[in-house]
Symmetry: C2
Subunit: 184 residues, 2 copies
């Protein structure tokens, strides 16, 4: 058993889960919940696929079609809460982030790495969320100009581990991620 | 294979997943993400345990300590987005709800059914989220007056099934949950 009272080790553990999510599509951290506030001020949450997680810069990335409501929400308010629950480890990871929407040339490096079979996720016609008459009354052509990277700068991390005794800590960018234990 | 183009059957399938979450602590629907908007207008998301799901009234319930930030958020704005991703079935369930905070007598029936060993989830000292000096520098006495039921009236349901061809539908309370297919 590692040192349960070590704040830095706990933070490393959180990032390790995120990096495993990027590397392994079977990992629960592959599919975080991405929560935003709609232009009307309402909470919204949906599954996303985690595409990048870098502890050094404290950045995570997901990909999206620019015509989805989450992009509309982020244009109104760029803050996104990213939430992961790892059942086997009983670990909850909560990131508070500020998202930048990268398109065009800024998204080129990411686009070329998207497998051709996955590119159809960007370009659904009619637009995602449009009512249609038949269950399969839509097409999914790949549309390069609909692809965006959501580059999420992490501002705050809240980690919880439900063990024999629970551990909870928060970490903030502004003090260099030193961390503080919290009552769970 | 059931009728993929049947809106009512798709809705039933969504509720079946939720009810399984209530019945089985191993089910992924047991631990939805509960998203709210903070009093400052920021998105917040955390894991909750699903305690009740009734299709007839379109209501779900979770339990909470009244001193948590989600209760503060709901007092400022009672809307909550509840999100479930079922990996094995590749089904996403998104509920838009209006939450009522039940305490005291209104929460009595639920409290008596909480096992004594679980009652310590309501009453952490110092208050949840308070900085503490040591990792285990807190106590967890059961405090009856800190227990609340979040009674969430479902207003809108968005279901997605990622199959060979994706299916997506939305359902609203205001038309009796008839449902409409959406472009995914």
């Amino acid at each position: 058993m590692s040192d349960l009272g070590n704040l830095a080790a706990f933070l490393d553990e959180g990032w390790r889960h995120l990096q495993q999510g990027v590397a392994d599509s079977q990992s629960p951290a592959r599919y975080p919940t991405f929560a935003t506030v709609s232009p009307e001020g309402l909470p919204e949450a949906r599954t996303v696929a985690l595409r990048h997680a870098a502890q050094a810069e404290a950045v995570v990335e997901v990909h999206t079609d620019i015509l989805t409501p989450k992009v509309k929400a982020l244009k109104a308010s760029p803050r996104a809460a990213i939430h992961v629950w790892i059942p086997r480890s009983q670990v909850q990871i909560r990131l508070t982030t500020t998202a930048e929407i990268l398109t065009g040339k800024a998204a080129e490096d990411a686009w070329v790495q998207v497998p051709p079979t996955s590119r159809v996720s960007y370009g659904t016609m009619p637009d995602p969320g449009t009512p249609i008459k038949e269950v399969f009354g839509y097409k999914k052509p790949p549309v390069r100009d609909r692809f965006a990277v959501l580059h999420c700068r992490v501002d705050h991390i809240d980690l919880v581990h439900l063990g024999e005794r629970h551990r909870r800590a928060e970490y903030v960018r502004s003090d260099g991620w030193r961390g503080t234990w919290l009552a769970p």
